[in-house]
């Protein structure tokens, strides 16, 4: 102990062994973290590894139990069962329809509203933005009953459009703020130039401003697509009376309730539900992570 203390205090030329050792320690120290991080992360993603492995195991192999992650015999039977018998093929189509509808509604409404609110001289602008921010954290549990009743009164219940509207409405706040911030940052000269060239409000928006806002469109699309794909509460409530319209999450819930022992089938169904969205995320993760980070910083 005391010797190392001594060495540390002596200047480098006299005792090169000291700083050298310290350097090595500094180089080694970040590497030591891998000893903790690798097992931790493997354990973290274990449920996914199990899910994929179980989806390819035969039902009899699953019954025997055991911890092996590599199936003795690879089989696609589970996927066939989940896709047709448990109707996950239909549910996938429903989920894609639902998610795309939500994204389109959110994009159109929030881009238009964001553009309108980006004009600093708009009367009532501050009040509107204030209301938006104040209601950002309204939980679904609090609002779901009136939303359900409203959609029923509109005659849209038991249809995916009603569910998409209910999903999109409360999700508008962050996209509106993102579009507003983006459009506010574009120099007014550009709009003035468009106006001089004879473009009206609509043409300026659709031909000039909207094409410029591609980065925001990308972020909003991705964030809302993933949220809509993974949503459960709203689709559950709106498809209670109509099993044909179930989304993947709701389908999984019912599958678990009815065939709770068909583990390999459920693993396959879980793969069908999660792998597409994970692939989408992996390709576009930078946009996604930056979108979240940007939202927090604001």
């Amino acid at each position: 102990m005391s010797t190392t203390e001594l060495v540390r205090e002596t200047p480098a030329p006299v005792a090169p062994a000291g700083p050298d050792r310290r350097n090595r320690w500094y180089k080694l120290r970040p590497k030591l973290w891998h000893l903790f991080l690798i097992p931790f992360c493997l354990l973290w993603v274990y449920p996914f590894i199990w899910m994929v492995s179980a989806a390819f195991k035969s039902q009899s192999e699953m019954l025997l139990g055991g911890l092996s992650l590599i199936p003795d015999e690879w089989t696609f039977e589970n996927f066939e069962r989940a896709w047709t018998t448990a109707r996950f093929g239909d549910y996938t189509i429903n989920t894609v329809t639902f998610s795309i509808t939500v994204v389109l509604i959110v994009l159109l409404a929030s881009a238009a509203a964001g553009y309108a609110l980006s004009r600093p001289d708009l009367p009532g602008r501050k009040v509107i933005v204030g209301i938006l921010i104040a209601t950002m954290f309204i939980p679904h549990g609090y609002t779901i009953i009136p939303v359900f009743l409203l959609v029923s009164d509109l005659g849209l219940n038991n249809g995916l459009l009603g569910a998409a509207l209910a999903q999109a409405g409360p999700a508008l706040v962050v996209p509106i703020l993102l579009f507003m911030g983006f459009f506010a940052g574009i120099p007014r000269d550009l709009e003035d130039a468009a106006r001089v060239d004879g473009a009206g409000y609509l043409r300026t928006f659709f031909r000039v401003m909207l094409p410029l806002s591609k980065p925001v469109i990308g972020t909003v699309t991705l964030l809302n697509f993933i949220t809509a794909w993974n949503s459960f509460f709203v689709p559950l409530v709106f498809t209670l009376g109509n099993p044909d319209l179930r989304t993947l999450g709701v389908g999984m819930y019912n599958f678990f309730g009815q065939e709770g022992t068909d583990w390999t089938g459920m693993a396959a169904a879980a793969c069908i539900s999660t792998i597409p969205i994970v692939v989408v995320f992996l390709f576009l993760q930078r946009t996604f992570v930056e979108g979240i980070a940007g939202a927090v910083k604001n």
Binding site: A113, P139, L149, A267, A270, I292, K297
Partner: protein
């Protein structure tokens, strides 16, 4: 100031509104959606909660405060509220600091493969809660579940644990899964917060003779406080509204041991086994929950504001 503003505004008001007609037209779709599905439900919840109503026809059976009396007097409701609160508390006490530690680790540019780690930890966030919840229910199965098999193979337990089926373990298990699910997003919040701190400041502290740990403790962490408060509120809100996970796995059982407020509301309004929905009562429960959430947030506010100021001045 106010009077001159009003005077200047009055004669031109009509012209100003007309000049912005297109802007207001552009606000209409968002206003309809947001008004219909966010603002209106908040008001309607209050209104409906004064009725005894099964959803058939318009609400006519005015019962005054009876629904609120029943909610406030219901042990089941307060149990559900307590469970919701525990989800939040656990997220704040366990997830928030743990995610910060890992964010600091992964923020180190010298660490190889940090993007892979970040990706692994973030993966649960992009998956459907209801689906991975069910996968966990299978992993935690008392008879053939992987967790029980592994624990008994290692000799850590003699008899299998019914993680989600016994009243004593179900709630902690679900809270654990909830933390697993939300951890990645909290990590990204922290990483974003850490990125806002200029590298020079940390380096300047090191040059001034502070150790890496000292710089972290006395320079970096205090600078994080303003954003930390935002993150804290986001995490608190998320866990307080846990529904998907509980509904998909235990539906609040066994014996209401994992019941949370959203599942409680769901049971009285939408449960298919219900004879007649009790929308008025369920709305009252929602209103009480909303008000309590607001109160808890407001109670935190003075403490947080003091911290915020402390953080802003250092």
């Amino acid at each position: 100031m106010a009077s001159t503003y009003a005077a200047a505004r009055r004669p031109r008001a009509a012209g100003r509104w007309r000049r912005h007609a297109w802007s207001y037209a552009f606000l209409v779709p968002a206003a309809l959606l947001f008004g219909g599905f966010s603002i209106w439900p908040m008001i309607a919840s209050w209104w409906y909660s004064f009725f005894d109503w099964d959803g058939v026809g318009s609400p006519t059976d005015w019962v005054g405060l009876d629904n609120f009396r029943e909610v406030l007097g219901s042990g089941d409701f307060w149990d559900a509220f307590w469970h919701s609160f525990l989800f939040s508390l656990a997220a704040l006490v366990i997830e928030l600091p743990l995610a910060l530690v890992l964010a600091i680790l992964l923020n180190n540019a010298l660490l190889r493969g940090r993007n892979v780690y970040r990706l692994a930890l973030f993966l649960p966030v992009v998956t459907t809660t209801a689906v991975v919840g069910i996968v966990f229910a299978i992993l935690f199965d008392p008879v053939r579940g992987v967790v029980n098999t592994a624990l008994s193979d290692l000799g850590l337990i003699d008899s299998s644990i019914n993680f989600l089926g016994s009243t004593s373990t179900a709630l902690p298990t679900l809270i654990g899964i909830d933390i697993w699910k939300g951890f990645g997003i909290t990590l990204i919040y922290w990483l974003a917060a850490l990125q806002t701190i200029p590298k020079d400041i940390h380096e300047a502290a090191l040059i001034d003779g502070a150790s890496s740990r000292q710089s972290l403790r006395f320079v970096v962490l205090p600078m994080l406080i303003p954003l930390a408060i935002v993150i804290l509120l986001l995490v608190f809100q998320r866990s307080l509204n846990t529904f998907d996970l509980v509904q998909a796995t235990t539906q609040g059982g066994p014996n209401y041991a994992t019941d949370v407020v959203p599942t409680y509301i769901y049971r009285f309004a939408f449960d298919p086994f219900l004879q007649a929905p009790r929308y008025g009562f369920a709305c009252a429960a929602g209103v009480v929950f909303g008000v309590m959430t607001l109160l808890i947030t407001l109670l935190q506010a003075p403490v947080l504001r003091r911290q915020y100021k402390a953080g802003a001045t250092t």
